[in-house]
């Protein structure tokens, strides 16, 4: 396989973007990535668009074809990749494979979702369409509900407390304050969302034991990267960042079929594969972007991706290991919790953040001397997960 370079990265601020269409957002993020790469008029051979549910959110499908036309990239190949909230990660994998295999030399990977076109409960219902229709959905299961059940089990098994969950939220919202692309830019406190006798009014229960501030916002947004070969990238002025490892794994569709629902097998396997391909170990990672759609997931993923032993993720959080400046900063972008979670865009936004971190372009949230990065994009409730290992070349 050929090495794959992230030549350009761009995104638009995640938020509620009433004025923009989905294709508008993706076009702007794409142009930013292409400008950032500085490849001039060099043709884009293929476009992969990560998008979960434009047909349901926006009554528009074939968005990859629409984007290619909007950007005048014809006759580039174009595909929309749907893989739930891991759609962005899957688009990244397809873009990676296209360059690595020699199928294409220059590939644009875009993730985008416009979720705020519908009201919150409708958005939750659309996202819940990924659950098992007969065994889960008809009983009213939503992703927050599954996360609530998972959280209760994780708390009982590993001693994670609501204080730990709130620590994740506080940390990531602090990081979000440093990220101009973040949807939520507001500092919160332990008193204001948990400890004060009336904190339950500020942060009401969403799905016990998860409260409002344990959940990511519903966002509109888009992110894009331009992938190419080392040969084409050699004259670029930016530091060279490569994708060295890609892992993907699946688990049962329904959560209740898992012998131990707290074990996220697809996280474990996808991470192992990514590290193996990159010939790296978790201890080599300087910065990680994990899929904290719910606060508990950052803790669980940090353990099951291999950064901390089981039951130690919360302790690492307590020690401050996962803060910017700690031993392993997790989600310096603010993660899904603060940057936001336009579902199809998230997997690509994670790669954008790691590219900026590894190039040293992350501004106030820069992780010092970051040379190896890791991202995890969690689809379904852990039934389809993608992991990436990226490096800055010296």
């Amino acid at each position: 396989m050929r090495p794959v370079v992230v030549a350009g990265a761009g995104m638009i601020p995640f938020e509620r973007r009433d004025e923009d269409t989905l294709v508008d957002m993706m076009a702007v993020a794409s142009l930013k990535a292409m400008d950032d790469a500085g490849l001039g008029d060099r043709a884009v051979d293929a476009v992969y668009v990560g998008n979960m549910a434009s047909g349901l959110f926006n009554h528009q499908v074939s968005v990859a074809s629409a984007l290619v036309d909007r950007l005048s990239l014809m006759p580039a190949a174009a595909d929309r990749i749907e893989n739930g909230p891991a759609s962005g990660g899957s688009a990244m994998k397809n873009g990676f494979l296209a360059v690595a295999s020699g199928y294409a030399d220059v590939v644009l990977v875009v993730g985008g979702e416009k979720m705020r076109e519908v009201i919150g409960p409708k958005a939750t219902d659309i996202v819940a369409a990924m659950t098992h229709p007969q065994a889960e959905y008809i009983y009213g299961v939503t992703l927050p509900a599954l996360a609530g059940l998972f959280t209760r089990l994780y708390m009982e098994k590993y001693g994670v407390t609501r204080e730990h969950l709130t620590m994740v939220a506080i940390k990531n919202q602090e990081n979000g304050l440093l990220n101009p692309y973040a949807h939520i830019r507001m500092k919160i406190t332990m008193e204001g969302v948990l400890k004060h006798p009336q904190a339950h009014i500020n942060s009401p229960v969403v799905a016990d034991p998860l409260h409002l501030y344990d959940c990511c916002p519903v966002s509109d947004g888009s992110a894009a990267v331009l992938l190419t070969t080392e040969e084409i990238a050699k004259d670029l002025k930016k530091p060279i960042v490569t994708i060295d490892g890609v892992g993907q794994a699946t688990d049962t569709h329904t959560v209740h079929e898992r012998s131990d629902p707290t074990e996220l097998k697809a996280v474990i396997e996808s991470s192992k594969k990514a590290f193996s391909m990159a010939n790296a170990k978790p201890k080599d990672v300087d910065v990680a972007e994990l899929h904290d759609a719910f606060t508990v997931l950052e803790i669980a993923e940090s353990e099951q991706a291999g950064f901390f032993p089981l039951g130690e993720g919360a302790k690492a959080l307590e020690r401050g290991d996962t803060r910017i400046g700690g031993k392993l900063p997790i989600n310096p972008s603010g993660g899904l919790k603060a940057r936001g979670h336009p579902v199809g865009a998230t997997g690509v936004a994670q790669i954008v953040e790691l590219t900026w971190q590894l190039r040293g372009e992350a501004g106030e949230r820069q992780v010092k001397k970051a040379k190896t990065g890791f991202s995890l994009n969690f689809g379904g409730f852990g039934n389809n997960v993608l992991a990436f290992v990226m490096r800055r070349k010296s």
Partner: protein
């Protein structure tokens, strides 16, 4: 001013009890002081409402225009039995709510304008005016309507309001009612605040109603998009 003629134009008014100020701890840890203001504050409040008049997002324009007219009408004695509560953080005005008494039994909720967003300021202030109507004025119910989807979600759904026949004072919009029973059923879940307000907080709040700049108000209402990297 010809006060003889003016006396014909001014509405009679009911006595209304004072609303004791309270302080709410926000998600940020910040302290929101909620207090009643009298007519003298209106010119200051209008400065904060003015930037919203041309903001269609979330119907701020409609809410802003109507609130502006209601406050001005109250200031110049053309609205009957109106009261106004405000929210301040470190003196800065972050929200305004108003209501009008219709009878000794019924209040009519008018508007809720949140200038700071994402902190449940609007929800806290809405709850405060319901608290005033039910607990302090002793009304049996408050008639409510919504002019925006956010308002509908916040008031109608969170309080599980009862639908009413007829029209709300704000026009043909469907009226809903928060009854005394519904209020007390939801109070623990939705009505925040502690009394008395610590003296130093109250002094800051009363010293000056600080109004953010027009640009800051618009940024708060419109979100991040105005400020960055686009």
């Amino acid at each position: 001013m010809d006060m003889e003629l003016e006396a014909y134009l001014r509405p009679p008014e009911m006595d209304m009890p004072p609303y004791p100020a309270k302080v709410i701890t926000l998600a940020t840890g910040g302290k929101l002081v909620v207090r009643q203001v009298n007519r003298d504050a209106v010119p200051r409040l209008l400065q904060a409402v003015r930037p919203t008049l041309e903001v269609p997002r979330d119907y701020y324009d409609i809410v802003g225009v109507r609130l502006y007219a209601e406050l001005l009408g109250w200031y110049r004695y053309r609205v009957r039995d109106e009261f106004c509560l405000i929210g301040q953080i470190d003196g800065l005005l972050v929200g305004i709510v108003n209501t009008r008494a219709y009878s000794p039994e019924v209040d009519i909720s008018l508007h809720t304008l949140a200038i700071e967003r994402g902190l449940r300021i609007g929800a806290h202030l809405f709850a405060a005016k319901m608290e005033y109507s039910i607990e302090y004025c002793g009304r049996e119910e408050v008639l409510i309507t919504a002019e925006s989807p956010i308002g509908f979600r916040r008031w109608m759904i969170e309080y599980d309001l009862e639908k009413r026949e007829g029209q709300h004072e704000l026009g043909g919009a469907t009226p809903y009612a928060l009854t005394r029973d519904l209020y007390y059923r939801n109070k623990e879940r939705l009505v925040a605040g502690e009394r008395p307000v610590p003296e130093e907080l109250m002094q800051v709040a009363e010293r000056e109603i600080i109004i953010a700049s027009e640009e800051d108000i618009l940024e708060k209402i419109l979100g991040a998009k105005r400020r960055i990297v686009q």
